[in-house]
Symmetry: C2
Subunit: 312 residues, 2 copies
């Protein structure tokens, strides 16, 4: 598995927080508040989510913003204002702090929101960055995991597998290889598909989710929440030249990154089959009756995720 | 010093985030957003801000909410909805997580807001809780640090020194002594003065700030931001029986806790001198021309904080 788990306790959180009890809270990528406001929160822990020798502190700041922007986009929203806490790791100096702030500001500029406040604390050991983002719903009804319908097509907006490939290159010490440049850069600075999300607002999007833990596990969330089976069609999954090259270099199958790679922060969504797809959105499969997620390959249907599967 | 520094990098943050450049951002306890929304963020790091042998996990959840509620109250706002990240410390088990959620939910109920979402991450070492709170401005103009006027009176809403006394009792291994009960309980579960803040909304509050790092240092923030001198009058500072008793027990001067104790999450504010004070708000000094913070005692004026002093 190339994807590293980000929120292994999701179901426990929902239960412990009592979210399912309140119908106003979709339990999706962001919470929907009265007045069409959206609020979400994503933390990056040193060691688990970043290493300062693999990503510069400015990249960590960028990623903290990008991960939350993807959550807001996945609900059909636009990002407005962020606050964050920086947990200063024991070894971090001022430069780490200032660089992290710089990267977060750059991401806010790129994605059209502002960083308006924060808090710093000193940690005993490794550090963290925890960012919360307030957004505004930009569509009539929020896009939820539970709204995939049989007959819909399954689509992706944004890249797939690049972050995981970059991570693999870093882990193998091959980050300097020319073919690793783009994947490593995307691992350090993910690019949620802001423009494509803007175009999608004109369409009757069914389900939508941020790909933070991998296409296969996000698809499983949609399948479970919507009560459908998702078929990912292998022949629709293009392998970009960069991914092929880095896969050859490392002796790994790039399709694993595309199917299971995390921290990409692209969008997985469903649309009625008769719609023309806007720029930046491509079909990668279909929605059928049934349960779970399968890959339709030359050899037949391969189960990717079973119904009720909990990612960990 | 009994107060433990919470945000030692405040000025660096403001600079690094570029807050001072945007006049819409007061750089106060919470950021003011368009539409009268307030957004703030406060993190608690294990080791630096809590020890699970001194506070139960439910208390930590409570404190994460309370600290942010105080920030919203200090701007003249009401708290609405919170999201948080929990950084699961290496040694934490499920019970820690569930208890922390329970405490946060109890605090939300007590203070009139809701916990609507969150994220968990696994940390390599010690854990953290980082909470963000969205609020709504409930007064015409936000209460800011910079609005103390010469001739105003200085007031406090909520308790003073209890949390620091409780912390001292815990540190000395005397938490089981009867006189330590209330201070320890308040250290574990601070009580921002929600009712008093509600009453204050009817009055022309000048400056206001959350007492998170200690009365003396918060007063210094107001004095510096407003360009005035604050005189804290010793004879107006009542020492509650609990504080006297625990001071006697530990051989410490309770006035140190009142003046410098942190994590109380009460409010320090200024009001015109001619107003009748509402229940829960008491006068503790006055605003003069000049700079810094002084204590007016029997022996004369004692400097508490100098102009331009930066707490660390």
């Amino acid at each position: 598995m190339t994807g590293r788990p980000r929120t292994p306790e999701f179901d426990r959180i929902a239960e412990a927080f009592g979210w399912s009890r309140d119908p106003a809270l979709p339990g999706d990528d962001a919470a929907l508040l009265p007045g069409g406001r959206l609020l979400c929160c994503d933390a990056l822990a040193e060691g688990a989510h970043f290493r300062l020798d693999w990503s510069g502190p400015a990249d960590v700041g960028w990623k903290a913003v990008a991960a939350n922007v993807a959550d807001i986009l996945a609900m059909g929203g636009v990002p407005d204002a962020a606050v964050w806490s920086i947990g200063m790791g024991r070894e971090w100096d001022d430069r780490v702090f200032l660089e992290m702030c710089r990267g977060a500001r750059e991401a806010c500029e790129a994605f059209g929101c502002s960083l308006v406040g924060g808090d710093t604390v000193r940690c005993d050991g490794s550090g963290f960055a925890s960012l919360s983002l307030l957004g505004t719903l930009a569509v009539e009804r929020p896009w939820k995991r539970s709204d995939a319908r049989v007959g819909d097509i399954l689509c992706a907006a944004g890249s797939l597998g690049l972050s995981a490939a970059g991570w693999a290159a870093l882990r193998s010490g091959r980050a300097e290889h020319p073919s690793a440049r783009e994947p490593v850069s995307r691992h350090r600075r993910p690019m949620p598909p802001v423009e494509a999300a803007l175009r999608l607002r004109e369409l009757p999007v069914g389900a939508c989710i941020d790909i933070s833990d991998g296409l296969s596990s996000e698809a499983a969330h949609i399948a479970t929440a919507s009560g459908v089976r998702l078929v990912v069609e292998r022949e629709l999954l293009e392998i970009p030249p960069d991914l092929s090259a880095i896969g050859d270099l490392l002796g790994l199958d790039p399709m694993d990154w595309i199917l299971h790679g995390g921290e990409e922060h692209s969008l997985l969504l469903t649309l009625p089959a008769d719609r023309e797809l806007p720029e930046g959105v491509r079909r990668i499969g279909r929605v059928e009756s049934g349960a779970g997620v399968v890959l339709q390959a030359d050899s037949g249907l391969i189960p990717l995720r079973l119904e009720g599967w909990v990612h960990r």
